[in-house]
Symmetry: C2
Subunit: 158 residues, 2 copies
Amino acid sequence: MNETTDGAGVELADHASFLLSQLGAHAAQRFAERLQPLGLDPKQFGVLTQLAKSDGQSQQQLADAMRLHRNVMVGLIDELEGGGFVQRRRHPSDRRAHAVHLTETAWELLPPAREALDALDTELIGGLAVEEQRHLTRLLRNLTDAAGLAPGVHPNLP
Amino acid sequence: MNETTDGAGVELADHASFLLSQLGAHAAQRFAERLQPLGLDPKQFGVLTQLAKSDGQSQQQLADAMRLHRNVMVGLIDELEGGGFVQRRRHPSDRRAHAVHLTETAWELLPPAREALDALDTELIGGLAVEEQRHLTRLLRNLTDAAGLAPGVHPNLP
DNA sequence: TATTGTTATACTCTATAACTATA
DNA sequence: TATAGTTATAGAGTATAACAATA
C-alpha cells in the first residue's frame, strides 16, 4: 500500500465547507486589519452597528443581540467608553441597567467603517462580474439563512 | 437626527465578506463537531491529512506545511501519539528530527473523516442543485486562489 | 553557525461562578 | 426570587524566548 497514491487522503481544497472556512477566516482577519486604522476591532464594531440600529440599549440587550455573555459585554463597553465611542447613561426605566449611547465620534465612524467593508468585498470578490457578485452574495445569504444563522450576528470573531 | 432611519447603520448581512466570515466560522465549528466522534479535532485532522499525502515527515516539515510554529507541532504530535494516531520514529537522515508516521488506526480513520467532510458539504450546500454546488465550489476555489491562500492550508482553526 | 525538537513563560480569550443593587 | 452589571478565577490557545542535540 502506497500512501501517496492510494486515494486515502482528503482533498480539502475541493470541499465547499473547507473553502468557506478558509475564506471566512481570511475575510475576518482582513476586516480586522481594515478596521484597525479606525481604532476598532471587529467585536467593538459589532456593538457600534447594534447601537446604530437602536441606540440606548442595555448591556444585556446588546449581549443577547450579539450572542455573547453579559460578562464579555462589560469589557467591551469599558473599551468603547475608554475610546470615547459610547457613553453609559442612566437607563430611563430600570435603575439596574445602563443605557449605552453612541457618541458623535462613533456616529462619524460608521460611514468609513461601511466603506472598509465595501472595500473588503471588492478585495475578495471584485474579480467577478458585477451580476455574479450579486448572485454570490444572494446565494451566501440563502446559505446562512438555511444554516439557521441569525442575520448580522457573528460570534467567534478574532 | 434619528439613528434608526438615517441610514448610518451598516447592513452586515448584505456584504459578501461578512457572510463568508459568518458561514466560514459556522462551517469550522460544525466540522469540529463532526470530527469529535472520531476522536480528532480540526488541527489534529490537518496533521493526519498532511501525513496521508506524505508519511514520515519531520515535525518542522509538518509545521511549515500547516503554517504553524514548530513549538505548536510538538503538542499536536504529543496528542496524536497519545491517541495512537501517529508514531515518532528515528529520522533516516537527520538525527535531530523525528520521522512522524501514521498508525494503522489513523489510516483507517481517513475514510470516515472524508465522509464527515462530504456530509458537511451536503449539510451546508445540499439545498442547491448539483450543478450549482459544483459551480459554487469552483467559484470559492477561485476566490481562495485569488486571495493568495495556499490550497488545503487553514490556520486559525478552533 | 544554523536547525530540530523541546520546555517555560507571558499574554489573550473564554467560560464559570459569585457578589451588589435593583426589580 | 430573578435580573443587570460587575469582578475574580481558571482554562484553552497563542506567541516568544531560550536550551540541548545535531547539522
